[in-house]
Symmetry: C2
Subunit: 264 residues, 2 copies
Amino acid sequence: MDVTGPGPLTNPTLELIARRSSTRTYDPAPLSGDERDAILHAALRAPTAGNMVLYSIIEVDEQATKDRLATLCDDQPFIAAAPWVLLFLADWQKWTDLFAASGVADIEADAPRTHVGHGDLMLACADAIIAAQTAVIAAESLGIGSCYIGDVIENGEQVAELLELPPHTFPAAMVCFGRPRKPRAPIGRYGRNLVHRDRYHRMTGAEMAEVARELGELHAPSGLPQGVTSYPQAVYRRKFASTFMAEMNRSAAWWIERWTRGER
Amino acid sequence: MDVTGPGPLTNPTLELIARRSSTRTYDPAPLSGDERDAILHAALRAPTAGNMVLYSIIEVDEQATKDRLATLCDDQPFIAAAPWVLLFLADWQKWTDLFAASGVADIEADAPRTHVGHGDLMLACADAIIAAQTAVIAAESLGIGSCYIGDVIENGEQVAELLELPPHTFPAAMVCFGRPRKPRAPIGRYGRNLVHRDRYHRMTGAEMAEVARELGELHAPSGLPQGVTSYPQAVYRRKFASTFMAEMNRSAAWWIERWTRGER
């Protein structure tokens, strides 16, 4: 599919989805109260598993907290300059607290379930990210740009302490919001072998060569970085084998272990 | 925040987000090719980490596969009756395959990184769910309803075999699409303590009582199920301590272990 060109149908929502790209340079003017509320309202209307709302949103307002997050999230100063920062937390803590307070022991013949597991985590992460992307699209409909910060998974111990996150929470997505200070370049996106029919199609060697060629043309039209001979090699070096991904993997394992272990 | 009422601003996108609720009863007419392509195009335009597109979409077309998924996903026959089913897979497999095929060993002084970790998984899940929710909103803009199937995390061994999923993939979200066969009731949503300021606010006993009251009024206006005395107790019994959540937790641990272990 040609993902860089326009789609076959159009309406205001499809248009804004097609033209959006991430915003990292912000008009410093704060968003209005109505804008913030409209974006939060949209996020909170997003679908959630069993209507349980398995997430919470932390609105990061204090400059000192933004500054610290900018450092902890792989040193990206633009985070500190974003007019509005929302953290979407996977959150079963509120429910386990509610269960304990509501006396579930009274309705249990056996010991009540207190362990929060990997499935609970993945379901809550889905809820949190569904809300985050709804906020992103709602913001875009108001002319407000956004940027996901995947690096919020890094340095878990310090992020948890900074934001006072209890054990059954996980920072599923952080998003910076603000009006773009300059026109955003439309982003190219490769479209090969992204949609499979009925089962997973693992690429053949010839297909992989085609994907590598398409990626190179899209993302490195003026040539590849020194020391690599293909775009996959560049991604390997800059992303997969990077220091920040090593930290993200270490830290994510810590978050997951903490979540499933519960209170110390 | 009053999440059940309207938000403070409006436009076509905010309106469709505010009014959407899940669709489980479908007009059996298939979606048109343009509708499918427009929804896929929107999904594939969604933001992804480092522009790496860390997901793949499986379009489930065969009736036998839909039938099997309906059984494996906690026995929900409406899945088999959905005109269109998309599985959004977190997918690092395509990249590790591309890395191997592109000869990353040639650019590595030491042994190339082959282990795919928990951070890679969480980042790829975010990508997959961001794409899924973009598809959901795009569909809604075309009058096409949708329903997330969180239960796709269950019965991992069988889902992986059915869809031939390689190790570095994870079923982050499955979504059924189709035109609603009957008008959808607007859904109520509680709004208390969902947005925190600067740090996580753990509810006090009085706040928990307020949340429990609001939840009961919204979701059990005509009374609670037998054997429970509060809405949190109902959620505990019907969700948290249910057989399907036990299976989801078992299976998610299996998926994560498989992902980080890699090829057997």
